[in-house]
Symmetry: C2
Subunit: 306 residues, 2 copies
């Protein structure tokens, strides 16, 4: 079978760190072109705009790693040109945009894959399997990172549709909604929004999962040790996922470290979805963030400067 | 057939103005009990709490017209007791709460009806029918009312989960999503939030419907003439819905005024749904509001005092 001729859109940090190595390692794809205002890849045809790339390069599929705000329009352009589309998380900045993309993909008969890379972290699938027959009693999510270290100069992240601390926090929600045996229901939220910004720099979220309380703490001002962990108290002890899902610790066992295979797995799955012309879009993580914004108590905090 | 023995929960303004007359006029229902902290209905068994009402009165169904924030818990209590449930709009304050209620109703095998009363306004069904074969070119939504006149002292409406001006504004979105021939997609929003409040007192919303721009203006500080109108420019002229959907004006025709039958129609539909044990929950209006909160640019405005 011929490899899928892929166009990569948005050559920034996540493209360079994750997408390019994963694409290079997957024989099912051939990187045929890039579209980006700033970045390019040596030896690959580079375009400034997605429309030019689609018109000139003969592509089968595109993968989008631009910032979330423009993703819907770019994805729609590609879908309407008959290309399969893979989306970085979050798939768009509103739920109605995601639904519109699903509708367009159905009409065009192409694959649409809304990725949640944290769900591919090494500990997630075994955590899900272990929790299946347990009674969940309480869940604590801690997602605390330093915005200046991981998102230097990314002003959009605190703007409208940037989701603020829920840009990383949605990764926690993508894991929690994957591993927990019952649906998550948002009950209340608080948000600290720096003066003059639209999106929160810190937040808490109180949810239910069956009868268990699920409490999330999200902080973008964490200096020192970074913390992306989920603890689940059950009738058989406490499960702990650390390092954004990479490290799993089950009660009475040692930590299970494992290689980071998140993006290679995403591209493997994209290839399989294309082969079957399937759509894989799970809106739950974005819905939980929307729910948080809908009911949050907000505090205005000091201005934030990167 | 025996009438459905109905318990009415939350005896406030909307119950007195709308629900009680509609129930009294429908032979399919018998008002068997009420649950309310403050109000009661002469000649009907009154309880302070829903759990007491459910335990003592032999009910088939309940109708909930309490403020939105507590609705999910009350509805869940009734569903788990095996009762059919009708919900005032919005059905709950988060999307995940609504989905949880749908799941519970399926499990219990009862009817769940999330009402959108404005969709039953006289002009809505004919507007939808007329628009089916038109090309929509632009849509203007104006939803401007005086919060002090229509919501006196309702502090919750500007609090977390009160939705602010989207408490009435969701009625406009329930109509627009019903009559327009394509899905609404939220692109941007602005919100004016009074200092110290969580929800907006004024907002704008920019959406797409196919290729047409849909522009909503929502204002809670409208004195003088009140305005709840939707104008739809099409290739066959402009359709105008006024008075919250009650008045329909088609191009070249006179206004069509009609009786207000919103709540009688809702109870008629509830009776039919119960007879067929069906669930009728459309989350689209709430999803559009969630999308607006998710991406809104916010301005803090002067404190608001009722």
């Amino acid at each position: 079978m011929q490899p899928v001729r892929l166009g990569l859109v948005g050559i920034g940090k996540i493209a360079v760190d994750q997408h390019l190595p994963a694409i290079a390692a997957n024989a099912g794809f051939r990187l045929a072109a890039t579209a980006s205002r700033h970045g390019q890849v040596e030896g690959v045809d580079a375009y400034a705009h997605i429309a030019d790339m689609i018109a000139v390069a003969r592509l089968d599929a595109i993968s989008l790693c631009t910032p979330p705000a423009g993703r819907h329009a770019l994805a729609l352009t590609a879908i309407e040109a008959g290309l399969h589309v893979m989306l970085e998380k979050p798939p768009a900045v509103t739920l109605s945009q995601v639904e519109a993309l699903v509708g367009a993909a159905r009409t065009a008969g192409v694959t649409l894959f809304a990725t949640w890379h944290s769900r591919e972290a090494a500990g997630v699938a075994p955590a899900r399997a272990w929790l299946l027959d347990k009674r969940v009693e309480a869940v604590r999510i801690h997602w605390r990172e330093d915005i200046r270290r991981w998102h230097p100069g990314q002003e959009w992240i605190l703007g409208p549709g940037g989701f603020g601390v829920f840009d990383p926090g949605i990764n926690a929600l993508s894991i929690a909604s994957e591993i927990l045996p019952h649906q998550l229901v948002v009950e209340s939220a608080t948000m600290d929004v720096p003066q003059g910004r639209a999106s929160p720099i810190a937040a808490t979220l109180t949810m239910r999962c069956g009868l268990a309380e699920v409490r999330g703490e999200f902080d973008f001002l964490q200096t020192g040790p970074q913390d992306w962990s989920i603890e689940v108290d059950t009738d058989a002890g406490t499960l702990r996922l650390g390092m954004g899902g990479a490290l799993l610790q089950l009660p009475g066992e040692a930590e299970r470290p494992a290689d980071d295979q998140e993006y290679p797995r995403l591209y493997e799955r994209f290839a399989n979805l294309i082969a079957r012309r399937e759509i894989d879009v799970d809106m739950r993580p974005l819905q939980l963030v929307a729910d948080a914004f809908l009911i949050a108590e907000r505090r205005v905090t000091d201005p934030f400067i990167f």
